[in-house]
């Protein structure tokens, strides 16, 4: 019988085997994680822990394991980003305006996981309404990255918005976690925390029951400690949902089966425009290393051009706030969440929204309202949509000459809590390599590939053709093997 601390070190694939062999029970696995969550409370990775629910679900899993009715994720303890509505469990989007809100429904993605036998450990922290790249905008406090710079005790951010999910997985207080990605919110925190995260193709996972940030960009995906676990989780999360008109009716392949595929003859694109001026040398080095690894595996690098890349970030920061300004109108103090009374309905709106939304959310609502206003719509929103179409076309053309694209995930390693907080534009630059993927609706994965000079994880990103997650898993699996990334936080 393994000790609880080592149970939390297992990958999902290993735990699946151990559970099937009855080496340990789902209850023991859940209990080990709950105990670890207690020990790592200082990380603030969870907004709410659900220990009673976790143990009850694990016990039910044990019954199914004993009776041969185990699902694909039977007994696997997961963190759920607090953007997914969970029935009767507080769902806040890390905002005061939803504090205490217990949805009477379960999101499709989390329901899919429960249907596969997974166990809920709690709701993971995030940037408020998923707006941020540091997790510092959470109304429930920032999340600490379990990693620290070598010889520097300052607390670092885990990235965002899915910072709680990435930190929890890295800190071994969840075997995997759900996350969402609107402009990089799965991939950047995965890179910052040395774990794997995939944003699948837009429409692959249902958005039903996920608190909306920017509907045309939001997409759910998993974060886990290795490529295989990520593939296992995505298979369970994905699928067509008639309740989401933008979800796509395509069968979900067995992603795990793509691992181990040969890369012989595969062409991978290196976008010229991603070699930014002033790109940090260590990021450039990592990228070059990635190219070498794939070449060693028999794949062929191809220089490609994505000419509209430089317009991606501005376009993103028009489209996403525009949709957010409308999506967040429903938080008005009338039907649920925070209500701060006033002498008129206008005052009730003003008081409730002023008290309920944090500074970054307010900033984006204002930007979004502005760009949609009469007289500005054509210059901003419409133009941004045109840019978006051009970016999508860039990728289409690039995929004439390559099968997958390799880039860094983020322009830097994790930064310290408090850094970049006074400069929203510096913060927005974190998304420079990731937003194009959301604008084009394509799948992207981040895989840890090395350490920075001060000992922090760095990620490489692979971008695939629409609905070709299998190639992403196959290629990232090779990168993972070549990188042999074995470093752990706090080690």
């Amino acid at each position: 019988m393994s000790a609880p601390t080592t149970l939390t070190d297992l990958t999902i694939a290993a735990a699946r085997k151990g559970l099937a062999a009855r080496d340990f029970t789902a209850r023991e696995l859940a209990a080990a994680h709950l105990a670890a969550m207690e020990r790592h409370k200082d990380l603030n990775a969870y907004i709410v822990a659900t220990p009673d629910q976790a143990l009850a679900m694990a016990e039910a899993s044990d019954v199914r394991l004993a009776t041969g009715k185990a699902g694909a994720l039977e007994g696997i303890p997961l963190g759920i980003k607090d953007l997914f509505c969970t029935k009767d469990v507080q769902t806040t989007a890390a905002s005061r305006i939803l504090e205490g809100f217990r949805p009477p429904y379960e999101s499709t993605v989390s329901q899919n996981l429960w249907d596969a036998g997974a166990v809920m450990l709690g709701k993971t922290n995030l940037d408020e309404f998923a707006m941020g790249s540091s997790n510092m905008t959470s109304a429930f406090g920032g999340v600490k990255n379990p990693w620290k710079r070598r010889g520097d005790d300052r607390d670092l951010v885990p990235g965002g918005s899915s910072g709680g999910s990435a930190a929890a997985v890295a800190a071994r207080i969840a075997m995997g976690a759900t996350a969402t990605d609107t402009g990089g919110s799965i991939r950047q925190p995965a890179a910052f925390c040395g774990v794997v995260g995939i944003k699948p193709t837009y429409g692959r996972c249902s958005r039903w029951g996920i608190v909306a940030f920017a509907s045309s960009l939001d997409q759910a995906g998993p974060i886990a400690r290795d490529v295989r676990d990520t593939a296992i989780l995505l298979r369970a999360m994905a699928g067509h949902d008639p309740k989401d008109s933008t979800s796509v009716p395509r069968p979900v392949p067995d992603y795990e089966a793509a691992l181990g595929r040969s890369l012989k003859g595969l062409r991978f694109g290196i976008p010229r425009e991603y070699r930014l001026d002033g790109l940090s040398p260590e990021i450039q080095r990592l990228w070059d290393q990635g190219i070498a690894w794939l070449r060693d595996a028999g794949a062929e690098p191809v220089e490609i051009s994505l000419p509209h890349t430089k317009y991606a970030l501005p376009a993103y920061y028009i489209v996403a706030p525009a949709e957010a300004s409308s999506n967040l109108a429903r938080y008005d103090g009338v039907r649920f969440g925070l209500r701060v009374p006033g002498n008129s309905i206008e005052e009730l709106y003003e008081h409730s929204r002023a008290a309920g939304f944090g500074a970054e959310v307010r900033r984006r609502i204002l930007i979004g309202t502005y760009v949609l206003s009469a007289g500005y719509y054509d210059a901003y929103y419409l133009k941004a949509q045109k840019v978006r179409a051009l970016i999508a076309r860039d990728f289409e053309q690039a995929y004439q000459s390559c099968d997958v694209i390799l880039t860094p995930t983020a322009p830097s390693a994790a930064f310290a809590m408090g850094e970049k907080m006074d400069d929203p534009v510096a913060m927005y630059l974190n998304d420079v390599f990731t937003v194009t993927v959301n604008l084009a609706g394509l799948p992207g994965i981040s895989v840890p590939a090395g350490l920075s000079q001060d000992g922090l994880p760095l990620g490489l990103q692979l971008i695939g053709r629409a609905f070709d997650e299998e190639t992403l898993f196959a290629v990232s699996h090779v990168l993972e093997g070549a990188a042999g990334f074995a470093a752990r936080p706090g080690a």
Binding site: P103, S215, K243, S245, A329, F336, I345, A374
Partner: protein
Amino acid sequence: MIIDGKTGPWEIVIGLEVHAQVISKAKLFSGASTEFGAEPNAQVSFVDAGFPGMLPVINRACVEQAVKTGLGLNATINEVSVFDRKNYFYPDLPAGYQISQYKQPIVGEGHLDIDLPGGETRRIGIERLHLEQDAGKSIHDQHPQKTYIDLNRAGVALMEIVSKPELRSPEEAGAYMRKMRALVRYLGTCDGNMEEGSLRCDANVSVRRPGEGLGTRCELKNINSIRFVMQAIEYEARRQVDVLEDGGTIRQETRLFDSAKGVTRPMRSKEHAHDYRYFPDPDLLPLVLDRSWIEEVRANLPELPDAKKARFVADYKLTPYDASVLVAEKENAEFFEVVATGRKDPKLAANWVIVELFGALNRLGRDIATSPVSAAHLAGLLDLIENDTISGRIAKDVFGFMVETGKDAATIVAERGLRQVTDSGAIEAAIDKVVAENAAKVAEYRSGKQALFGWFVGQVMKSTGGKANPASVNEILRKKLAG
């Protein structure tokens, strides 16, 4: 219509925006029921209430209703249309935006032929028809400080049908509304009930000197009957003429119609100073319709008022006016057809339905569905006239009894002995008696005062209780008086 002002004639220009609630079991984007009259907030899904993470899914049945209506308006059906968000804050709009269609509506240009008095028609252009969600209801009179919200109606499908500014009088606006109501009722796409608010209308009104360009318009809201549409336009047009003739200018504004006072007044600027920030709803894909499906819907359309009217004129030889009166309500047209079918003189049926039946229903305050005289009973009455069992004169009395008792004509004729006397012996005897008792009058007649003939007919009819066959009376009387 021309308004004669102090300084000369003015022409009224009117465009109407009709909001028609779609007949459907479920709402436009949620599965919640649409039935009228449920307990407040009993028919609300989490989508309708704007809960976090909820997403709209288009109801195909509502799309079909909009396409049907578009086809009924002889309009272009757009194979691709887009749903947009119209953003504004109001408590009865839970999501903070209404899903509507702004730049790419489901239905484009078409026309509606309105029926004018005297049987004329006029073609009015339709600009567009689009689908949108209805809002909930704010209830302000239940509590001194609080407003209550009922979301039963929130999310119910509406069709907004916009006319071109081609109506020229309150009467035409009324005729347009009547025709629109008839059309949607024929199609079964809206129940047309203005009292319950399932058919509502806003009117854009301006005035100009005949032949000049369009004047500045005002939008009139809150109009919930055809009579009020006409009243509101009439008032507003005269108001605008007064303002202009006094040297003032018309401000483009939204005005509310106060039906109690019969006036329009400006809404507070706060009530309409909106920038709706329209943009395509990212939760919904563009609505793409299949050409062959549209043709299938077209092929299955019922007979519509104009076609029915043309058929009534051709097959039943009705005047266009009578035909338009009969087809105005589908139920009336169906009633008429039951009465008229197989009849030698269908015009007689039209007269009875329009004059006698509608007159009676009017007096009783009933509609055709609750008529005390069924179509079969009225047909039975006309049968008795046509086979000379009773005269037209007696038929009116019989009809009166039918309205009172709900019995059929034959029963009433039998019970009351109203059968027409065609037996020439009996008629002859009655005539002989009248001739014998009025020797002086007979002498006058015979000396050339032919006009007295009618008086003799009257006397005979009177003595037979109106039951004598008028043709026989005429014939025999003429002989007897001739001596």
